[in-house]
Each structure stands twice: as structure tokens, then as C-alpha cells.
Symmetry: C2
Subunit: 511 residues, 2 copies
């Protein structure tokens, strides 16, 4: 999921972390650090069971993290798929089966609680590759180590997958097991849909969703277990994400002119067309002179206006966010087109984009080399908002290129998916917000995130609301020394509260 890919660099982390409130660290959070007592006796029993079994729960998380599952390499995938299936069976899923695919298998689980409501758990069991030499402790040792950053009693598990996402997922399952052990049954039915290719852009998730479509579509919502607290304790709740289409363009010498085989001497420009100029002119036709107004006909046709509810959320967000701090974080001296922060935030949330991620042609080394290159390339991404469709973008781009005389410019490849949106007033969102409130954790709700994730499979295809939910904190996804906080003295919730929070979320959702 791209959300976690953001975390690979500071700018990216800012999208989730700081845009969401990392700059608010100085503010008091006003939270308590203990679990709420206002719950029912059912909840109390579950909480007590979690407290009593915490050492074993920690061990289960370590066990899961110690099983490598690097999808890009295939390392441990088979074993981790089977471990996941077994976990689901042990947690009470009568159905717990591998889903064969042409790639890494999926895992399906169904836990029938005999209740009215059903929650889908989206689950990824794969992780990013590692370079163990760079880690403080071996990435698949999953050591429980002290971490003073989180207080005198601070402890973390350091492991690949600790936060992204086997740690939170196993914590969720620990909570499920405690609910069953304490109360005999769950407040909701659970459908688990797990994949082992999330870090490879989920190529078979559409197949998995299709296979269980009839059953999934009868559910009431989807949770992606996560630990969503920032280091300051604040939680962020995104109600959707933009879609994305990523394309690579290529201009190459051919019947329309230019050298076809190799670069030639630049003095020949006088007699020979340039594939580089063609790419530049084609790209330039996509926007106005500022690069900010898209001129590709039809691209924005299906964008719906923000709803009144979304507008409310933006106004609330503006009270939480600090524009100048954001500018500093990104190294900006102004927002787009020189607009104010409110306008830039509205554009961030509600507008489509055409961005050049990279371009290259010819000689790029030091000094000068006099060549007329035979090819030029650019990578672009388009971010999509409701109700744009990813499938429309490449045909519109092709049509634009052809109409502007650039039919020779190839779209080497493309991929992407639709935007995803969850109703801010859905019971699922309310359950998440209520649970954060139960624990005194301030949750900042965004109408959507400007980044992208393939959650349209649930929200658009199955019409299900989806939340990324969880107390607690971790970081280092896609990086070194990835961790999940197990114990913390400050506003960050430790593992016991993380698991109690998942349980309470289920109770809240079932209400």
C-alpha cells in the first residue's frame, strides 16, 4: 500500500505523519494512557484476558515476525501463507484456506459468530526486503528491546513487518482470541482476506476479491489493522484515498523523424528531427505554462464536487493543521500558484493531478557532450478523485497525444487503480472514532488522503466502507530498524491497549 511506501523518506512520511499532525507535538493531547472503564462487563472480561495473556500475545507477534515473508524474493512466502492460515483456524475460523494464484497464494478465513454484522479484515502477510547489515538487531529475530524514547518502561519489537503490517495484524488476532476466550463469541462475524503480494502492488487481489465477491459484498465494512498513532499520540483517520495512474512515455526516432538506432552528432539537428524536442512539446501540451492546469480533454469530466460533509471536514482539519509548518517541512516558499493554505489543502484533497516523476534523455553527465539523442522518456502519475476512473486515463492521454500530432509517442506501460472513498457518517467510521475517543486519543479525520492505495476493490467494487484503524505506534516501514511499540509511558498506547482497542472497536461496530 502506498501509504506505507510514503514512510520511506521524510517528505513522504510528512504526508501521513506531519500533514496529519506531527507538527502538533507541542500541543497537549489531553489523553489518558489507560484503557477506559466505561465498557460493559463483556469488555472488562476481554481486557482482563488480554492483560493476563500479554506475554503470550507478545510471543505470538514475535513468532509471526520471525517467519520471513519477502514477496519480492519469495523468501518464506509459502511458510508464512500456511502460518497465516493456521492462525485463522486457531482463532476460530471454520473456513481457513489458501487461495491459489499465479503468484503468491492468498488466504481466506471465515469466523462465523452468528451475529448480524460482518467485518472484513484486509490482511497482508508479506513484507519488504531487508539488508540485515544495516539493522541494529537481525530483522527476523523480532527482539523485544528497551527503547527509552517511549519512556523509562519503553519497549519495542524490532523486526521487518513489525508495523507493516504483521505486528498489528497478529495483535488484532490476539484480541479476537481474547474475546472468544473471555466471552465465548465475537460481537461480529469476521471474513479474513489475506494476500502475500501487497508489496508487489497486489496483482492478484482483484482475483481474490472476485472469488469471494458474493460473500464479501454481504459484509458491513472492512478494517485494515494498523497502529495509527503519530509519535505525539494523535491518530489519523483517512476516509479515502486518491486513485492513481502511472505511465511511462517514450519518444523514439521513427517514420515521424529522428535517429532510430542511436544518438547522432548534435550538429545534425539542422537536418534531423529530435525525439527529445517531440517529448518536450508533447509533455508541454498536457498543461498550461504553469504546469498546474491540466489540458487533457475529458480528464476532469467526472470529478464530483466536494460534499458539504467533506467541506466541513476540511474546515475542521484547517483548525488542526499549521500551513507555515507544512511549507517548512516540504521546503516550500509558497503553495501552488501562490494560493493560501486553505486553497492548497482543498486542491490537495479534491483535485486531480498530472505530475512528472522523472524524465531523461541523452547525455546527463558533467560538462557537455554534443549529441542528438534517438529517444527520450518520461514517467508521469495522475492522481484521481471521485468519480474519475483509472481505466479512462490512458485512453484520454492517447487521444490527446494523437490529436496534438504526437501519435508516435508511445505509452510504454501503465498501471493504476480507482480512488477509494468511505462515507464519513458510516457506522464503521463512527466505531473507529468512538474507540479513539474511548482511549482519550485525539483522531484527526481527513476526507481522504492525497496518496493512493487499491482500496477501491472494497469501497467501489463492493460498496463497503473501509477504515485503517488501530491504537499504538510503529515506524520504519520499508526502511531499517522497523519497530512496533509494546510499552510506552507517554501518549502512545502500548500493546495491551492496542489489543483492547481492536476488541472495543468490534464491540463499538457491533452496537
Amino acid at each position: 500500500m502506498e501509504r506505507r511506501k510514503f514512510l520511506r523518506d521524510s517528505a513522504a512520511a510528512a504526508v501521513l505523519g506531519s500533514l496529519a499532525g506531527e507538527k502538533l507535538i507541542a500541543e497537549a493531547v489531553g489523553a489518558t494512557s489507560s484503557a477506559p472503564n466505561q465498557g460493559s462487563s463483556e469488555r472488562k472480561a476481554v481486557h482482563a484476558h488480554i492483560d493476563a495473556n500479554l506475554p503470550r500475545h507478545i510471543e505470538k507477534i514475535q513468532e509471526y515476525l520471525r517467519q520471513p515473508s519477502i514477496s519480492a524474493e519469495g523468501t518464506g512466502i509459502k511458510e508464512c501463507a500456511e502460518m497465516t492460515r493456521r492462525y485463522l483456524a486457531e482463532a476460530g475460523c471454520k473456513e481457513a484456506e489458501l487461495i491459489p494464484s499465479k503468484g503468491h497464494p492468498g488466504v481466506w478465513g471465515y469466523l462465523d459468530a452468528g451475529t448480524k454484522k460482518t467485518l472484513v479484515v484486509y490482511w497482508m502477510y508479506d513484507v519488504q526486503p531487508v539488508n540485515p547489515a544495516e539493522w541494529k538487531t537481525p530483522p527476523f529475530a523480532a527482539q523485544l528491546v528497551p527503547e527509552p524514547r517511549w519512556g523509562a518502561q519503553g519497549r519495542i519489537i524490532r523486526a521487518r513487518g513489525a508495523i507493516n503490517t504483521k505486528g498489528p495484524e497478529r495483535a488484532f488476532l490476539n484480541a479476537v482470541e481474547s474475546i472468544r476466550a473471555a466471552n465465548g463469541r465475537l460481537p461480529v462475524n469476521l471474513m479474513f482476506l489475506c494476500e502475500g503480494e501487497e508489496e508487489m502492488s497486489s496483482p492478484h487481489m482483484p482475483d481474490f476479491v472476485a472469488k469471494y465477491r458474493d460473500r464479501l459484498s454481504k459484509a458491513d465494512g472492512v478494517i485494515f489493522p494498523m497502529c495509527s498513532q503519530d509519535p505525539d499520540g494523535r491518530a489519523t483517520l483517512f476516509l479515502g484515498n486518491k486513485g492513481i495512474v502511472y505511465v511511462e512515455l517514450e519518444s523514439h526516432g521513427g517514420p515521424q523523424g529522428g535517429p532510430t538506432k542511436a544518438e547522432i552528432h548534435s550538429s545534425l539537428k539542422a537536418a534531423v528531427d529530435s525525439p527529445v524536442w517531440r517529448l518536450v512539446q508533447a509533455l508541454a501540451s498536457f498543461t498550461d505554462a504553469t504546469g498546474n492546469k491540466i489540458r487533457i480533454a475529458g480528464l476532469a469530466d467526472n470529478i464530483r464536487k466536494p460534499t458539504a460533509r467533506e467541506e466541513e471536514l476540511v474546515e475542521a482539519l484547517l483548525k488542526e493543521l499549521d500551513g507555515p509548518a507544512q511549507m517548512k517541512l516540504y521546503g516550500l516558499e509558497r503553495w501552488i500558484d501562490g494560493v493560501d493554505y486553505r486553497t492548497s489543502l482543498r486542491r490537495l484533497l479534491f483535485e486531480t493531478t498530472c505530475n512528472i516523476d522523472g524524465m531523461w534523455a541523452g547525455y546527463t553527465g558533467p560538462g557537455g557532450k554534443t549529441i542528438l539523442p534517438h529517444k527520450a522518456n518520461a514517467k508521469l502519475d495522475f492522481r484521481l478523485v471521485p468519480n474519475q476512473k483509472a481505466a479512462d486515463v490512458v485512453p484520454l492521454l492517447r487521444k490527446h497525444l494523437d490529436a496534438h500530432g504526437f501519435s508516435d509517442i508511445k505509452i510504454n506501460w501503465s498501471n493504476g487503480y480507482d480512488p477509494s472513498q468511505t462515507d464519513p457518517d458510516s457506522a464503521l467510521v463512527k466505531a473507529a472514532q468512538a474507540t479513539y475517543a474511548d482511549y482519550g486519543v485525539k483522531a484527526v479525520t481527513w476526507p481522504r488522503i492525497a496518496g493512493s492505495a487499491p482500496f477501491y476493490l472494497f469501497t467501489r467494487e463492493l460498496k463497503l466502507p473501509l477504515v485503517i484503524f488501530g491504537l499504538g505506534h510503529g515506524s520504519g516501514a520499508h526502511s531499517v530498524d522497523e519497530y512496533l511499540v509494546i510499552d510506552a509511558d507517554g501518549p502512545i498506547k502500548g500493546l495491551a491497549d492496542v489489543e483492547k482497542g481492536y476488541a472495543d472497536f468490534l464491540f463499538n461496530f457491533a452496537r
Copy 2:
């Protein structure tokens, strides 16, 4: 000199080699391979002296080539400068002195023959770096080895500098010595202006020319000794070269928008300006949509129309050249804008250009990475024809950028020089053509070459005609196994004729 830099790759070699006639290999050249007998007794005596002293002349060339003089590294430069000075003194220069500079020294020599006419010899004593491991024989061993490509008696000297250009230069000096030995005096006075930084873009040549300006400006022409025969035996005579201005542009986040410190996540494009889009739009403003018509105001203002004489030369050239073969050589499916070969050749010779040599921004690796880069760069070169001035280009470019709202786009650096032009009807050119004809060598005369060299120092600053002249053949400049042909059975002239040709050129020029 860029002319030789062309030879580094096949596309480049084509500009000089094949555009000039390499594709004519199949045609009969109709040349004799022996020296002409139509000369005076003076010439006959010189030719006899050259024949009698050929082994010693070969040794002198080997001696010069065995002295390394790699300007980029400084290797042997001091020794080679002094050797060059000594050679000039031994050849009869009463004045033979080093010219100190902040870089490698120049060498000045004056040989006073008491004649009316004076010829300047432009001379470079430096060579390109070498990787000895790649050579068949050590690059500074200057071995005389058999080479069957040039016939049963074929022999070459293989060495760095063999063709570029210490081989032809020392051969020229051998001819000078033979004239003096045989006849007592030269038919022309000679001024030698030598540099040891040609392979570093001649940074101190303007100073050297300025230092001897009063004396140089009284000369009647300039020769750059070369062996100008293609493998098919045909010689090419370029009457000028285009000027060049090379610039590197940079678009970078700043007060006009965009991230200033590092790339940020591409989803932020909705709220942040893009330095890449700015570069694309700025570049696009330089030309029309084809990339072929320049829209930078003033750039073409000073271009003079081709003269009737130049038009004649183009028509003659067209009879020699083979458009379809050229297209194949460069890997083209059409000439610029789809024009015919005549039009493309006229544009090649008479028009200015704006070429993108390279550009780069952001992510250029495999697959996709979603970033909004903080900078983007492009390298461009402008080729200049008479009477454009190199000094005008950057100010016009700056003015254009500013006028189009791109005052933030920086010109990181630039360099270049003016075009150079020699009168096709000058006595110097006629002497060169007459000498080729004397030896039955077909010479193809170009109004100019589309490439660039800093010969404006002589032609524009001093109003002197300049020829790159010489019988014979060599290749491998800037590459491995560089060679000069010493003996050949075919249309290529061997060293004896090369030296006789230089002598006859001086006689022809003196007439």
C-alpha cells in the same frame, strides 16, 4: 577541436567521414598513386630529398609520438612543449619560444624565408588520454607495423597522436626541412602557433592569438596540417565550421514554487508547483511544436544569406553525396520536417540550431516511483552560422526566459565560440585544391562543416583564410589503436606523398 571529437563514435565519424564521402567507397577515384612530375625542378629536388630521407622522417615522427603529452593529465606536457620548441628551431625558426600561460605553455616559432607570403601553422602538441590495456601495441611505443588493409606493402604507425595530430604535424615539419635542405629556402615565411590544451577546449588560445596578434594578422592564411583522405582516397575540404554555444539549464524549487530541498511525495503535486513542469514549459517555449523552428527572438537576426558561391558549392556537393545512404547511416526514415535531401543539406550548412543534448529530472530507474522532484536540468547546444555571434546567445536566451515568465530558470554554465569561414576563392583554398589535383586526389569542398571548432580566432579575429589540409589517412583519434598510414598500395597516399604534398602546397600557395 570538435572535428576530431566527432570521430569518437560512428555517428560522429559520419559527419566528417561519411557525409564527406565515405559512402562513395564503391566509386572509382581515378587517382594515380605517385607524385606528380609536372612540378618545377625545385619540387623535384624536394621530392627526391624526401624519398632519400624517408626512414629518418619516419623516425622523427616516431620520436615525437613516443613523447607522451596528455593535456588532461599533464603527462609529458612540459617535455613535449620543449621538444616542439626544439623541432621548430631545428627546422629553421630563428624565433622558437615557449609562451607561458596559466595552463600548459604554448609554443611560438617564426621561420623567416624572406618571401612575400606568410603562412601560419596552427599546431596542437597535446593528445587524448589512453587506456594502454585496450591497445594492440603500447600507445606511446609508436610502432611501425604492417597493416594488410592498405595492401601487401601496407604499414602504419600505431600511436596516440598518430593522426590527431602530432603525426601530420611532424610530417609537415619533415617537408619543411626537406625544402630547406634541397633548395636552401622556403617559398613562404612560416609562423607556428602551437598549443598544448587543444583537447581541453583551447582555454588559452585566445591569449596566444592576442599576444602575437599584430604579427599573425600580417600573414596570408592558416594551415592546420592533417591527413584528410577518407579510406576511399577522397579528400574533404571544409571551408568553415559552425560556431557553438553550449548551455546547461536548471529549474529548481524556490520563491516561484516547488520543493527547494529534496523531492517530495508526488501526491503533493496537487498543492505544490513542479520544477520539472517549469523546465518542460520553458524548453517548449524555445521552439514550435515540431521542435524545429526556433522561437527565441533575435537569435537568427544576424544570419547572412548563403552567397552565390556557397550555393554553387552545395549544388556540386549534391552531385557527390547520396541522400538515401546518409539516411541509412544515421538511421533516419526522413529528413527534418520531411524535406528532400537538398533542403536538408542546405539547412545543415546554412541554418542555426537549438538542440537538446540531454535532460534529466527525478526518478529514471525501472518501474515507478511517485515523487515530485525539486529540480530538473537540460543541456542544449546552439550551432551558429555567419554572422551570428556566440556572445549574443546567452543574453538572448536569458531575455527569452525572463519574457516568458521563467526568470527563475538558471543558466548554470555556458561556453562556446563564433563560426569560422574561409573564402572559397582565397588563394589558400585554391592552393589546397590544386595540390589534391596534382596528386589525382578528388577533393570534395564543403561551404562549411556543421560541426564546430574555434577557428574563428584566425578567420574572424585576424581575417585569415584557414584550411585543414593534407594527403594521407589515419584514424582512431580519441579512441584505441590510433594510426597514421605510412605505406599504402591503394588510393591512400603514403608518408612520402604526404610530405611531398605539404611541400607542394607551400609552392602552390606561394605562386
